[in-house]
């Protein structure tokens, strides 16, 4: 079993000899944290040296943000050790952590809309009644910080809600750097900035490195990581898988580490399944069912045009917040695009624009949301009621429900999808995540959809149920239903889909043929690289 794990968690405290000369400012050992059933962090190890710029990278859901929240005192770790400048530290709340010298810029631009720029920079530095510093000092401090970050002019009295997203992000960075920091953490902290502003922020970080201050940052831009970092630590599925000085790692190696392809056999298996997926749809007329015309997801993003064919499974991928969720929401008109349109194509080839969710439903476009608990399930109701919820609009005679017909369809569906629900009268909230997902899916399948838009449908679904659902998706597709399948798991996309649309910064960055692509190609595209350059030999 050839693995690429280079950092055995048990040996994490052993640094290479060259590193020992440098004082370690922060050491994280075996930190774990779960949210309910989800294991966000399993065993994270990290060592940040004094005067080092350290990149923490990984795919969505690899645990980066969880680790950063722990290091910022926002959430406590469940287990593991944290050493701050040589001593065990508690990291119990943001206030204490900041007093120790860790300042964080969070992924979400956390500004208080009604407060001024100056107030937003200095909130949290006060006591309950006592200001941390005089107003005059705040004015000079805030304007100096903002200038250091590359904005020459920003009225400190403007309320934050009048600022652009980029300006808000700069305000949150300013908030961090006016504190007496020794470690600055940026969790996607420059994602809203344009290239020239980002460069000025990076210049600032480099200048601080020479003063012996450390930076820990996450980024979805690979060039940024290699440009800025001294050292890279890769997280995958809540574990630290590797850590190396930036000079020792190729971009390709980093992408391989992140994508989690553990052996050559895995890759071959994935490729095989990918061709399986392609095999199921022979013999169908490949007419288009949905056409996307010049869809612009965000101001300034390039327009997207593509066609979805009958019986096709289209994968949708991208790192967090790169536009892929907006895209699938635009397909069923849950969200309005900046410009462009989505057309439903009927069997004669005529297109009709989709303007509203009701339109989408009328044209047989059915959406299964990501957050099944809040956007999909009716938790107190039974399995059967959840299944039949949408069906009643069809199955009634002057308002009297045709329960027997609905029951028949339920039996049909539960056989086809291998639904294990026990009795159909039991409360849906007692089902496992996978079976809940089957019920949600069944609600729309029973309505004879033409297109199913699935937003990360297999999140939190166990492996066996996944296999069932893969089979079921394929059988749906072979019956002519087009499926748009958003997933964060690349292997899954490669196995199940025919094409994968990879989003980056609001653009459709690449449209890959699943048969030919490898997981490394997909990861490269997710990070905004040219997928072809990372093709496996």
């Amino acid at each position: 079993m050839a693995t690429v794990n280079r950092l055995d968690p048990a040996q994490s405290e052993l640094q290479p000899p060259s590193e020992q000369a440098r004082e370690q400012l922060l050491i994280v050992e075996g930190v774990a944290r779960s949210f309910g059933e989800t294991k966000a962090l399993v065993a994270a190890d990290l060592a940040v040296a004094t005067g080092e710029i350290h990149a923490l990278i990984g795919e969505n859901g690899s645990g980066k943000s969880t680790l950063i929240k722990i290091l910022s005192g926002v959430i406590p770790p469940a287990s593991g050790n944290l050493l701050w400048s040589g001593r065990a530290a508690k990291f119990s709340n943001p206030r204490d952590v900041q007093a120790d010298g860790i300042a964080t810029v969070f992924q979400e631009t956390l500004v208080v809309p009604e407060l001024s720029v100056r107030d937003n920079v200095y909130i949290g530095t006060d006591g309950l009644f006592r200001y941390g510093r005089r107003k005059r000092d705040e004015v000079t401090g805030a304007s100096a910080a903002i200038r250091a970050l590359g904005i020459d002019q920003l009225d400190l009295d403007r309320p934050a809600w009048t600022l652009s997203l980029a300006e808000r992000q700069l305000v949150t960075i300013a908030r961090a750097i006016v504190r007496p920091w020794r470690l600055l953490i940026l969790d996607e902290g420059t994602s809203a900035l344009d290239a020239s502003q980002r460069d000025r922020v990076f210049d600032y970080l480099r200048s601080k490195r020479t003063e012996g201050k450390s930076v820990l940052f996450t980024s979805h831009r690979m060039d940024e990581v290699f440009d800025l970092a001294d050292r890279i630590t890769v997280l995958r599925m809540g574990r630290t898988v590797s850590s190396y000085p930036v000079g020792d790692a190729s971009q390709h190696q980093v992408l391989v580490d992140m994508s989690g392809r553990e052996s050559v056999e895995d890759l071959e298996a994935a490729a095989e399944h990918a061709s399986d997926a392609g095999a199921g749809e022979g013999g169908l007329a490949h007419g288009a069912v949905l056409r996307v015309e010049d869809l612009v997801l965000r101001h300034g993003a390039s327009p997207i045009s593509l066609e979805l064919r009958r019986g096709e499974i289209l994968g949708v991928a991208g790192l967090e917040g790169q536009g892929q969720v907006e895209f699938v929401e635009c397909l069923c008109a849950l969200r309005r695009a900046t410009s462009g349109r989505v057309l439903s194509i009927d069997n004669e080839g005529h297109g009709a624009a989709i303007h509203s969710y009701a339109d989408a439903n009328r044209h047989g476009i059915r959406y299964v949301p990501r957050d099944r608990r809040h956007e999909g399930m009716f938790a107190p109701l039974s399995v059967f009621d959840n299944f039949a919820m949408a069906l009643w609009s069809k199955l009634n005679v002057f308002g009297v429900l045709k329960r027997n017909e609905a029951k028949r369809r339920y039996r049909e569906y539960s056989d086809a999808s291998h639904l294990v629900a026990g009795s159909k009268g039991r409360s849906v909230s007692t089902l496992s995540g996978g079976n809940q997902q089957k019920i949600l899916l069944g609600r729309w399948v029973a309505m004879n959809p033409r297109t199913l838009v699935l937003n990360d449908p297999l999140r939190g679904v166990d492996v066996r149920t996944r296999e069932d659902l893969y089979q079921y998706f394929r059988s749906l597709a072979s019956n002519g239903i087009a499926i748009v399948f958003l997933s964060t798991e690349i292997i899954e996309l490669l196995r199940l889909t025919e094409r994968i649309a990879v989003f980056h910064e609001g653009h459709l960055h690449a449209l890959l043929e699943s048969k030919k692509a490898t997981d490394t190609n997909v990861v490269a595209a997710m990070f905004g690289r040219d997928p072809e350059h990372h093709a496996d030999a």
Partner: protein, 360 residues
Amino acid sequence: MPDSTLTVPANSAHLRAPVRRLFARHSYAAVPFVITVGLFVVNLVVQPAFVYLSNLGSSMAVLFPILLTGMALTLPVLSGNGGIDLSVGPLAGFVTVFVSAILMPAGIRAPELVIPIVIVFGLLSGAVNGVLIGYVRLPPIIATLGMYLFWEGLGTQVQPEAGGQVPGWLIGINGSYGPVPGLLIVVAIVVVVWSLIARTAYLRNLLAIGGDERAAFSAGINVAAVRVMTYALTGALACLAGLMLAGLIQSGDGTVGPPYTISAITAVALGGISLAGGRGGMLGGALGGMALFLIQELLTAGHVSVYAVSVADGIILIIALALNGTLEFLRRRRSVRLGPQQPMVLVQPEELGGFNVETS
């Protein structure tokens, strides 16, 4: 670029002068201000006797409990996250009982004793709300409903109907000390104390947790401590309202408080304060209380029955809330249409074609 000086870009000229800045900060109060002035004028026209000096004292005596409970409720609403204190009315009502049935029999009647005791009592009882909400994390509406029932029950248990005596100076507040009306002194004290508090970091902390609790917490604000202080100050203001109420009814009465909770909520809504928190200020609560009082004066002058006044209050509350929501919507939409919240990306001019598709 010169160092250490504040540069002001041209695009924020509307905020340049300090006076305008002051207005910008209190912009939420513009509509309530206009409403209050308008109602005042209408009152003048309908019943000119309204402002006679001889009537002023009794008018203000009626106004004050409404005004102070409205101001008291402003703080928890500003603190966001469903912040509200339903117990302000019953707590004010209980203070009348506290003074007449507990302090008076104990021989405590001098203002220099009664006022501090009542204020401390208010801070402590408010802090109980604050701990339940900030640390135990109960929803504010439930925690303070519990305290509402507690104070109402305790007050009526001790004094189920008007009775007992209150110190003479408390009744005398409605008169005047020499040429100065007593209530004006109370106004002055409240204004001075609040502007002192507003100059501290507390107000910034309050608006921060009300505006975005996650931002406030992650920036290092002790959110729970700010909450406790907020509800404690609310309790103190409610108890001050209770003292005024005792002076007005000249006795203690456990049943007199609860309606003031409703009037306080109406006052806050009329005062342009966002019920979502983080936007507004004490001026709003005060203006709202005054507007509500002026409406009631007008209805009383028109010999409208008490029940019809209640109907009017209900309608006013709903209109005020709808108006708040509409104004907030318009303000936000204006900001969206100006487009500053979009990411700053380099856009080719020809790509700007679809810029306003959403609104067309």
